[in-house]
């Protein structure tokens, strides 16, 4: 009998997903308020269970499942992101009359997959967690099935995602073929220093795995799906996509690279450096011309992934600490920005153009203020939280001697400041054309306020998050 305690949050969440499905089916009503409430409660209880796990490294299920400080930190972020995404979705989907009870259930199942990814300690559990998450996301992207664009987004995401999964599996099979095991600990022992550069086939395998994972975090050159899917999917789904799955996939990326392949860092660092550079530069330049705010957010998220990858390229505890802080801040910036985007409605109709934000400071000053905070923070303008996120990553890179990477990162963030500041300019200096529908709802207002407060508060009291992130990062390196 395996020790079930480390996996208790996952077991609870799996049961909750089935309970939500049962509730939805037996109520015979197609609204999602009841199931959404249950999903939020489930996320809260799971987060409590996760926080009760402690940060000691424990494996279970024959070493397939691992829990440590890093996993606890990342799972908490994912659960917060998913919970907020459910709350943000309800109002929107009800107004669009596409609320169905399966939506929260799919979100819970996707989150379950993300938690399994974060805790993966074996190439097989990695793959199954990833597929559970991806499959739920494919369905959610195509959720608005009467919309051609949503169906196209779902299909595109599905086909490209299947291709990425295939590449990942191929890489995993090459690694298994060399080492004879899929277990991360055995792989780490096999590749432990002293063997020199391993066989070229293993490097090819690792590159394939990196390609598959880069697709899931939407890093260049595997980003092509991101703008189309973000634009085509219903906005609450986009809000969900841009945060929780990205954090989970990044956690998996970090765990795979510094865990089993940690001693091969010299082999894979150049690949990570390249995709990091490419993501930052493309994220900065491609977003300039966008007129649709969801597309803009897609390119912005590609850029943010690039900054996170700097921390991974560094590959030591300081770098991973930077990644953890970066994504904790990214969560609140993005959730807040999407809360504003979800409130962009004129005469009961959803609008997505950047120009539609014109004069927001006059029509709803508080919302404009919050959006300005998010945009300044994303641009990395001190003293807001986004600046510190970038600061920790760049510092780690400079300490590790990756100065070029850090310098190009700073330059890319200067370029990206252009389009973030353009949104602020549109909100504050353009004449209002038409105001947004009011009120935006209590839940939405609360999310906006909380995200903005978190971003401002981090500058004042950064220590709780920084110490947590430091402790979490150090568990990955066995210190």
């Amino acid at each position: 009998m395996p020790n079930l305690m480390p996996a208790l949050p996952e077991i609870f969440l799996a049961c909750a997903a089935m309970a939500i499905l049962m509730l939805g089916v037996f109520r015979k009503k197609d609204d999602m308020r009841a199931t959404a409430t249950l999903a939020v409660v489930a996320f809260a209880v799971t987060a409590l269970l996760v926080s009760g796990l402690g940060s000691e490294r424990t494996t279970t299920f024959g070493g397939m499942f691992v829990i440590d400080g890093f996993a606890v930190f990342m799972k908490t972020l994912v659960l917060v992101a998913s919970g907020l995404a459910v709350v943000m979705s309800v109002g929107f989907l009800e107004r669009e009359e596409i609320d169905r009870f399966e939506y929260p259930a799919l979100m819970v199942l996707a989150t379950l997959g993300m938690m399994m990814m974060i805790s993966a300690n074996n190439l097989m559990s990695l793959y199954l967690g990833l597929e559970l998450q991806s499959l739920s996301l494919y369905v959610m992207a195509a959720y608005q099935r009467d919309s051609v664009r949503a169906s196209e987004a779902g299909l595109k995401y599905f086909v490209l995602g299947a291709l990425a999964s295939g590449m990942l599996l191929y890489g995993a099979s090459l690694i298994y073929g060399f080492a004879g095991s899929t277990d991360f600990e055995v792989l780490a022992r096999t590749f432990a220093g002293g063997h020199g550069a391993p066989h070229a086939g293993v490097i090819v395998g690792i590159v394939f795995v990196v390609a598959g994972l880069a697709f899931k975090v939407s890093a260049v050159p595997f980003h092509m799906w991101t703008p189309d899917v973000y634009e085509g999917a219903p906005t609450p789904v986009t809000a969900f996509f841009s945060v929780a799955p990205k954090i989970a996939a990044f956690a998996l990326f970090v765990r795979v690279m510094v865990g089993p392949f940690g001693d091969l860092a010299d082999q894979w660092r150049q690949v990570i450096v390249f995709i990091s550079l490419a993501s930052m530069i493309l994220g900065a330049f491609a977003a300039i011309n966008q007129t649709n705010i969801k597309r803009l957010m897609a390119y912005s998220s590609i850029g943010h992934v690039g900054y996170g990858l700097i921390g991974l390229a560094v590959g030591n505890a300081a770098g991973i600490r930077g990644v953890l802080i970066y994504f904790a801040i990214y969560l609140f910036m993005n959730i807040g920005a999407f809360a504003v985007i979800l409130s962009m409605r004129q005469k009961g109709r959803m609008v997505e153009g950047i120009e539609d934000l014109a004069g927001l400071s006059k029509t709803s000053p508080m919302m404009a203020l919050a959006m300005a905070i998010f945009m300044f923070s994303m641009a990395g303008i001190p003293p807001l939280a986004g600046f510190w996120g970038k600061f920790y990553v760049f510092m780690a890179a400079i300490d590790a001697g990756l100065v070029t990477l850090a310098v190009i990162g700073v330059l890319a963030s200067v370029v990206s400041a252009f389009y973030y500041l353009r949104i602020i300019k549109v909100m504050y200096f353009d004449e209002p054309v038409e105001s947004f529908d009011r009120p935006i709802g209590r839940a939405m207002g609360a999310i906006l306020a909380v995200s903005a407060i978190v971003i401002v508060a981090f500058t004042v009291v950064p220590s709780p998050l920084v110490t947590e992130a430091e402790a979490a990062a150090s568990t990955l390196f066995g210190e």
Binding site: P2, A7, A14, A17, M18, L21, F61, G62, M64, F65, R100, E102, A105, L106, L109, L112, G113, M116, M124, S125, L128, G129, E131, L132, L135, S136, Y138, V139, A142, Y143, R145, Y176, G177, F178, A179, G180, S181, V186, T190, H199, A200, G201, V204
Partner: protein, 203 residues
């Protein structure tokens, strides 16, 4: 000797069948060739001593999957020939790309080496094949060491089912469904009316 001959027979038929699957003009023939491939692959499993996998391949793939394919091919009114337009036109480019890939793979894997302890590591989880039957050995692995993966695969299938229903099931208005309770509750008086018909008059 005889084993090698049988292996080459199964392998050659499987490959030839695979080629026929993609080159047959009639999609029904394609599915039939697919069944041939499955049977020969099952034969290969038997040669490896994996009789359980051989059985599962026949039962699941031939019995369920291929039959489902047949249903789909026969029931959907799709012009499969249109899919294949330009097949010959793309063939040279495709073959060239495949050839380049093959050479590259050969270069990389021609000198394949294994980690020093790969053989012992990969054999570690498997029970002693001499002591237990094939089926039992698989069962022991799947329901003990790989229990977590087994459950996770179950969740993936659940998502697939929920997704298929969510994306395709529509409740159309105006569809007359059978309601057995109402049928049984119907009484003779509700539907049957006895009238006296005068002879020669009609109703």
């Amino acid at each position: 000797m005889i084993q090698a001959l049988v292996f080459y027979m199964f392998a050659a038929i499987a490959v030839a069948g695979g080629v026929m699957v993609i080159s047959a003009r009639n999609p029904v023939h394609s599915v039939l060739f697919l069944i041939l491939v499955f049977f020969n692959a099952a034969g290969l499993f038997l040669l490896l001593g994996a009789e359980f996998l051989a059985m599962v391949l026949v039962v699941v793939y031939v019995g369920a999957v291929a039959v489902l394919f047949l249903f789909v091919v026969m029931m959907l009114d799709i012009n499969f020939l249109r899919f294949r337009e330009g097949f010959l036109q793309y063939l040279p480019t495709g073959a060239l790309v495949g050839l380049v890939l093959l050479v590259e793979l050969a270069l990389v894997f021609g000198t394949w080496t294994f980690a020093p302890d790969a053989a012992s590591v990969s054999a570690a989880p498997a029970p002693d094949v001499a002591a237990v039957s094939n089926t039992e050995a698989l069962g022991r692995l799947i329901y003990t060491d790989y229990f977590y993966l087994f459950q996770a695969a179950g969740m993936v299938l659940l998502v697939a089912m929920v997704g298929a229903i969510l994306l395709t099931l529509r409740s159309r208005p105006g569809v007359r469904k059978q309601d057995i309770a109402r049928q049984l509750a119907r009484r003779k008086e509700d539907t049957l009316e006895v009238r006296k018909v005068p002879s020669g008059g009609g109703i």
